[in-house]
Symmetry: C2
DNA sequence: ATGTATGCAAAACATTTGCACCTGG
DNA sequence: CCAGGTGCAAATGTTTTGCATACAT
């Protein structure tokens, strides 16, 4: 939460972007989503700044960038336990989950092939209950 | 392998693109990779056609499109058992693997949250042996 | 023939960068 | 004050699309 602790000046745009990502009802937003939310909130921010700041936040470990299908990256505040994602192809809803058996197996696999894990991305695509009946 | 069976006319560009993806030493290529390979082979093909054809192949289930980190999609011939990927962040090398324990757990997780799996993507990023010592 | 596929060039996106101006500490 | 941050516009890189021509059946 503390920008200074992350080595970043506490400027207005950075604070606002962090706030926006912290809004309980969103969790996963694209750069454009953040930008639009700020404009609607009456903030005068540039899209380029949103991209720059999100990239800095990622480097500082404040947010996680996801490359789900669809061509645009989405960002999420890195303020809770590690988890993976279920993405509904119908409504776009995102469900987080954690499975330690899968996590452990990933480490085993990396070992087996001589890789040192730096990161991993597990995304399950499917249709959620609400979308099943169209 | 059979374009007609997939409902696609057996045109020269399509045959060449399929051949290129089938070259044993590649497996994972971006649209541009395929395009360049064809130009070098003396084929007169357009980049737009490569994109169009790869998208058709994906829809027909002949190839799989991956959105790894890095902004560009890579394609792989869908001619073997399902598998996931280890991607070396150092040299870009891609190692395929399969783990049935992980697969089974994914199904369980989807069930638990009421999702019907249509697809999934597990990518482990890390550094391979060869890159470990820089 | 004839409907579909292709190549080219232009368009559409997502994201990045150059630069003059503004701001936080 | 002054290094670093920001907004804007222009540049980039990837993928898509419109259209006249070429090709497979």
């Amino acid at each position: 939460m503390d920008l200074r602790k992350a080595g970043l000046k506490a400027t207005l745009p950075r604070l606002r972007i962090l706030e926006t990502l912290g809004m309980a009802n969103v969790r996963h937003m694209s750069a454009e989503d953040v930008y639009k939310a700020l404009l609607e909130a009456g903030e005068d921010v540039g899209l380029a700044t949103v991209y720059r700041v999100l990239t800095q936040f990622e480097a500082a470990g404040l947010v996680i960038r996801h490359n789900f299908e669809g061509g645009r990256a989405v960002f999420e505040l890195d303020d809770r336990e590690h988890h993976d994602h279920l993405v509904c192809t119908g409504c776009g809803r995102i469900q987080e989950f954690h499975d330690s058996v899968i996590e452990n197996h990933q480490t085993e696999i990396a070992d087996k092939y001589g890789f040192t894990i730096t990161d991993h991305a597990l995304v399950i695509y499917g249709e959620c209950d609400d979308c099943a009946g169209r």
